[in-house]
């Protein structure tokens, strides 16, 4: 759509006069996010979605009905005042919009990009309900991203920090949850240190989510803000091994601890051939490619990755999409995404599925691998699959896939990436007596994220199993509030 500034002016004038009726708002077309051309982006790591222009942002903001009950806020795990920030965008006050978001979310540039809005705020949007299509809801995430990116260009603001309380907080894991806890406890005036096992901070935002979906520069900027607030970040420090939680609290003087260590051990399918050369967990594949920049191997980066011609990715979630799209960019001619159920049941975001298809990822749904085949040197040469059909709904409400007997067939591939989720990391369980875990190895917490140990809180994947960036941030918020309260009662 060609921008028509005059039309926008007219709409804004009517909006300001209170004359823009719901009917007028419904008539404003939903704005499309500009994206890098699908053929071109197969060859590069640059971000795919390019972000709204100012014109688009304001047009999109005018689509918002400004509902009195703001159902969208209910859908947001951190309860951002969505209606109000959108009103500010419509008014053209982008700085105000950003500061409204930042009351509740510290990482708007990240969340605007990676939150599954279609099952959160945008699912509740009255506009989407009116059109009976969630894709026609107001694009809240894109608007969030727009003001966040604009704010970053103008130099991020450093949140104010209360006078020192003399209390020390240790945060284990510098992912999205840990970052939120660090900011919230630091703002309350505590002395905060984040311990990160990797050599770079950012957690899943740097090792897992690829550059083309979330540029590393954005994460770097957010971490810089934390450091400017006075948060200390110690990398290469594995809590449980370098120091235990007990040592941190009893010997190093930390008064409270937040555990946000994220996902743990990758799951495999337990089918024959998973030990062959060329079989990766998605964690390994993405870590090599993202954090270690294996796509630059031989040009400054020293970590290798398989040079693949044909790749099978097993799974249907966001991580599977990331791995498949990364394989495309690393030069694979054929990338197959093998999923046991139908496309409708895929847990991945619609936008990611759409992008993957545009980039040429071949979806093989209602198929499931039975074994991986290798040559005499143990290199992967193929994957044998079985066809499925959908049967009766199971306990999750999704129709159960039922194997079709004798339907085995083989796909020629040289690389297999297993993206079927993670189990819990056993490290803290092995090294932290008194900390309660459930039978799956996840930490048990109360509704304020407090664990069985005094002063120790936890959230994100290590508590929830598989979660998202925003859920980890939501738990971080709750935990930080509880920690600030706890530290306030602590005499020192």
């Amino acid at each position: 759509m060609t921008p028509d500034p005059q039309k926008l002016e007219e709409l804004i004038k009517k909006h300001k006069e209170g004359q823009l009726k719901p009917k007028d708002r419904y008539e404003i077309p939903a704005q499309d996010m500009p994206a890098q051309d699908a053929v071109r982006r197969r060859q590069n790591m640059n971000e795919v979605a390019e972000g709204f222009t100012e014109f688009q942002a304001r047009m999109e903001a005018l689509r918002c009905l400004q509902c009195k009950n703001a159902p969208c806020v209910e859908g947001c795990p951190v309860r951002i005042r969505i209606r109000d920030f959108i009103a500010a965008i419509a008014e053209g006050d982008f700085a105000e919009a950003l500061s409204i978001i930042k009351e509740n979310s510290l990482l708007p540039a990240v969340c605007g990009r990676v939150c599954p809005q279609e099952v959160q705020c945008q699912e509740k949007c009255t506009v989407g309900k009116k059109f009976k299509d969630v894709n026609l809801s107001v694009s809240i995430g894109r608007l969030e991203r727009f003001v966040a990116d604009l704010g970053a260009k103008q130099g991020g603001e450093v949140p104010k920090v209360a006078p020192s309380t003399g209390k020390k907080v240790a945060i284990i894991g510098c992912g999205p949850g840990g970052i939120v806890v660090a900011a919230d406890t630091r703002r309350a005036g505590h002395d905060v240190t984040i311990f990160e096992a990797f050599h770079k901070p950012g957690g899943v935002m740097v090792y897992g989510i690829p550059e083309f979906r979330l540029p590393k520069e954005i994460v770097r900027q957010e971490i810089e803000v934390l450091e400017k607030m006075g948060v200390k970040i110690v990398c290469n420090f594995i809590v449980g091994r370098t120091r235990t939680i007990r040592q941190l609290m009893e010997e190093d003087g930390f008064d409270a601890v937040y555990i946000g260590v994220g996902a743990g051990l990758p799951k495999f399918m337990d089918i024959p051939g998973e030990h062959l050369v060329g079989v990766y967990s998605a964690n390994e594949y993405l870590t090599r490619a993202n954090l270690m920049r294996a796509y630059d191997f031989g040009n400054g980066a020293d970590t290798p990755i398989a040079v693949s011609k044909s790749v099978a990715v097993l799974g249907g979630g966001n991580v599977a999409m990331d791995a498949a799209r990364m394989a495309v960019r690393l030069g694979a001619e054929n990338v197959y995404l093998i999923y046991r159920r139908s496309e409708k049941e895929m847990p991945a975001r619609i936008e990611e599925v759409h992008h993957a298809k545009e980039e040429g990822v071949q979806f093989r749904v209602l198929q499931n691998p039975t074994r991986i085949l290798g040559d005499d040197k143990s290199n992967v040469i193929g994957i044998e699959c079985l066809r499925y059909e959908l049967g009766e709904p199971d306990e999750s409400g999704r129709r159960r896939p039922v194997p079709i007997k004798g339907s085995e067939f083989t796909i020629d591939v040289d690389t297999v990436i297993v993206a079927i989720g993670n189990g819990a990391n056993p490290l803290l369980q092995q090294t932290t007596p008194g900390l309660e875990f459930n039978k799956w190895g996840n930490i048990v917490v109360d509704d304020r994220c407090k664990t069985s140990l005094e002063g120790v809180y936890a959230g994100g994947d290590i508590v929830l199993g598989a979660a998202t960036v925003i859920l980890a941030m939501g738990q971080g918020r709750i935990a930080a509030a509880a920690m600030n309260e706890y530290l306030g009662t602590l005499k020192k």
Partner: protein, 285 residues
Amino acid sequence: MTFKIISKKQLSENVFQMDVFAPLVASARKAGQFVIVSPNVDHGERIPLTIAGADPQKGTIRLIFQRVGKATAQMADLHAQDAMGYVAGPLGRPTHVEKFGTVVCVGGGIGNAPLLPIATAMKTAGNKLITILGARTKELVILEDDFRAISDELLVVTDDGSYGRKALVTEPLKEVCGRAARPDLAVVIGPTIMMKFCCDVTRQFQVPTQVSLNTIMVDGTGMCGGCRVEVAGKTKFVCVDGPEFDGHQVNFDAMMKRMNAYKALEQKAYEQYRSHTCRIGLNHK
């Protein structure tokens, strides 16, 4: 945190020893544990190395490594007073040490380095210690004096007979296992193929055997699964379940094939690095 190299020593043509300042690791580490190191912070490779020793007072750990590819060549090109990119650890589960009775420790090549702290701990726990060290040739026998100082009996073999007895380590191991006073435990660390054959020997004599595996790894904390091996038919992660396993249960054949996954790529990177490094030493400080 700066991980300064305090001292460096060349033990043989391609084997180097470094004492690196890493005080937290030095005081936390136990026998059998390893670290992840990288010569540079940004895009260097993460290399798992077993800790060969530590001095908690000085805050240093001892690393012994072999120059095999680009990353280890970069490390070998660092000198005392230079800084290592980073050191993370200690990682892995410590060796289970107790008084077993007689323990036979078998080291092959660079495997002597991770073996030394375990042998020392076994000796300190009151075990009778028999040590068998093997190498291709005389120059590659490392840490012999250190082992001699703690061993009740020390046997050295070389493939070419240039030093000690001309044999593979399996020969003296067989003899030791065949003695009337059969060892109560064997600890074997070295090239995968050597560990495999040693396990074949000890299995015949029903001597329980611990091996320490050094597989391909990225994070070293349980996240990537690149280090997985098959132990007793089950998938285990060397980084969090190991690095030590019951040698009689390890699928060494599958492990050896996985170890070669990146050989061609690594060779290319190494050659590229070598051709960019001045051979007459002008890159050196």
